[in-house]
């Protein structure tokens, strides 16, 4: 997997999917412009200032609450490359993989705006501003496969081709 380099945006613990994308935006006419509304209620500056490649850095239980897949889609459409969190809510974690937003479970030190470099293959995150490097655990083989094959639908397509 390619390395990822981007600026950090700090968030706290238990960031729920209602905050990431509020329910009133969940109509299909918004499906391709979810990025405009990400964190719209709680942090309107985020959508205005986020740049392609930026990285969300959060505490525990990121993405808790609703199963709305629009949450990782909104982050991705806004340009976020990856979410680093101490832990994830399980549905958000699964959804992220399927929409191509990399979820990384790790506790790191970073401030808003710090430049981070993630090496997925080595399992490291380096904060270029502080020079500190943090290690994260490799994904279990099944999940690693899933990420590398491009998410669940890519796998389903592959299965169906093989079984024909």
């Amino acid at each position: 997997m390619d390395n990822v380099r981007g600026r950090a945006w700090r968030f706290g613990d238990h960031i729920d999917t209602d905050q990431i994308i509020p329910a009133e935006r969940l109509t299909s006419d918004n499906m391709d412009k979810l990025g405009l509304f990400v964190f719209g209620k709680v942090n309107p500056d985020f959508a205005k200032n986020v740049e392609a490649g930026d990285i969300v850095v959060a505490g525990r239980n990121f993405g808790c609450g609703s199963s709305r897949e629009q949450a990782p889609r909104a982050l991705k459409q806004a340009g976020v490359s990856c979410v680093i969190a101490e832990s994830f809510a399980r549905i958000f974690f699964r959804n992220s993989i399927n929409v191509g937003l990399l979820p990384i479970e790790c506790r790191i030190e970073a401030r808003d705006g710090d430049l981070l470099v993630i090496c997925p293959d080595e399992g490291t995150i380096t904060n270029e501003n502080t020079g500190k490097t943090f290690a994260f655990k490799q994904y279990p083989p099944f999940i690693k496969d899933l990420i590398e094959s491009g998410g669940l639908m890519a796998r389903v397509r592959e299965n169906r081709r093989c079984s024909r």
Partner: protein
């Protein structure tokens, strides 16, 4: 190598459905009995599925519009239409039109999709509700639902299980809501992350299915993957007559391994409230003194006939406080009809409440009771996140139906004894 230790209910169901000998930590690909989507999670699933150009496993798909219906605006009308079109195109019979369904989870239960031993997924986080009937059910994403439409199977990491042993019986109007709020308050909003909460013990028998559904519904608020009650006679009675098809009963082995054990005496529980902005911010209701603008009774958590009966018995012959509006939303058409026949709707209306037909309504800030800047609502729903019910400065206090009704009368958070 044969592993000889016993299994939890989750390990048994996921082993049976994947034809493997699975234990906590294993990843399995398992056959699902049903996959459900609603009007806000369906459209992404439909697009992902159509891109595959294959046949849908139509008998296993359940489509329930509930979040933004009856259509609250033009975009939601278009969205609901997408679901209708998908149902027609793929000849999916399990589609529940407005006026014939209600909140998705309540409909799944009433229509007999749920039974012990089944594996059910839904693109809605509260799909864990069905564990009340000893099924393994959990929330998934829309793309995963699309994969299930095509393949009828999905990957699962077999969860570890926390054992929750219940003894005693609820006192008075104290209910399943108070139990689950107490649990979330204690273990925290990620205290059950990736795990199943398995409920057993003599206390289970004393609980109605309605109370069990409320508890299973909210385990996701502790991060749990599933909340499963052991099946008993009450479960069998409930399932009999409504279940679609056959099912196989399942119970945990004596030597099953649990990651931790909790115990609650139902008779010692009191009314609980979760304060903004977290379902884990829980306090005894009698310690909360807050003025309210709205009281909401409804949702997949507490919109069942038992909840309406409780609230009606507290409201009967009384008037709702002049500064409060109360909104009552039965969870399904069946509940609505039953409430009508039992005269409960009349009680609500006479006391000054607004009664609507079934929908998710204000539960997720959709419509019918959305809050303005600074407004406070005591609600029988399951989430009180920032802005969940409307304006980002509005506040939601989660409670059981008795506290919702008592508070509506007093104009502030109150326990029912004060109002009788």
């Amino acid at each position: 190598m044969t592993k000889c230790k016993g299994k939890t209910i989750s390990e048994k169901i996921l082993s049976a459905k994947s034809s493997t000998d699975a234990y906590a930590g294993d990843v399995v690909e398992a056959d699902i009995d049903y996959v459900m989507v609603n009007d806000i999670t369906g459209p992404i699933a439909f697009r992902e599925f159509e891109a595959l150009s294959c046949d849908a496993l139509r008998e296993r798909i359940v489509l329930i519009p509930d979040h933004f219906v009856p259509n609250k605006d033009v975009p939601s009308a278009e969205q609901a239409r997408e679901m209708r079109t998908f149902a027609r195109k793929h000849r999916i019979e399990n589609y529940y039109e407005v006026g014939r369904g209600g909140v998705c989870h309540q409909v799944m239960i009433e229509e007999g999709f749920v039974a012990p031993g089944r594996l059910i997924v839904g693109a809605d986080s509260h799909t864990c509700t069905y564990g009340a009937l000893c099924a393994f059910s959990t929330g998934i994403g829309s793309t995963e639902a699309a994969a299930c439409f095509a393949e009828g199977r999905l990957w699962f990491k077999v969860p570890e299980t926390m054992s929750v042993s219940l003894i005693g019986r609820f006192k008075g109007y104290v209910s399943g809501k108070d139990l689950i709020l107490r649990i979330i308050g204690e273990i925290g909003v990620d205290g059950g992350n990736y795990k199943t909460l398995e409920f057993s013990g003599g206390g289970v028998e004393s609980m109605t299915i309605s109370d069990r559904l409320t508890v299973s519904n909210m385990v996701v608020e502790a991060g749990a993957k599933a909340g499963i009650f052991l099946a008993d006679k009450v479960t069998e009675e409930f399932v009999k007559g409504i279940v679609k098809g056959t099912y196989s009963k399942v119970s945990p082995d004596k030597e099953a391994h649990y990651s931790s054990e909790l115990e609650y005496d139902l008779s010692s529980l009191e009314f609980m409230v979760a304060l903004p902005n977290s379902p884990g911010n829980v306090k005894p209701a009698k310690e909360v003194d807050v003025l309210i603008d709205q009281a909401f009774l409804g949702s997949c958590t507490n919109g069942r006939i038992e909840d309406l009966r409780t609230a009606a018995s507290i409201l009967r012959g009384k008037r709702i406080h002049s500064s409060v509006r109360m909104i009552v939303v039965p969870a399904s058409m069946k509940v609505y009809r039953q409430a009508l026949n039992e005269g409960l709707l009349g009680v609500f209306i006479e006391s000054g409440a607004y009664v609507s037909g079934p929908t998710c309504a204000a539960c997720l800030g959709g419509h019918m009771g959305v809050l303005g800047d600074g407004e406070r609502c005591v609600s029988s729903t399951n989430r009180n996140f920032v802005g969940r019910m409307g304006h980002k400065n509005s506040e939601v206090y989660l409670a059981g139906p008795a506290v919702v009704a008592a508070s509506a009368l007093k104009g502030r958070i109150a326990v029912p004894d004060e109002s009788i």
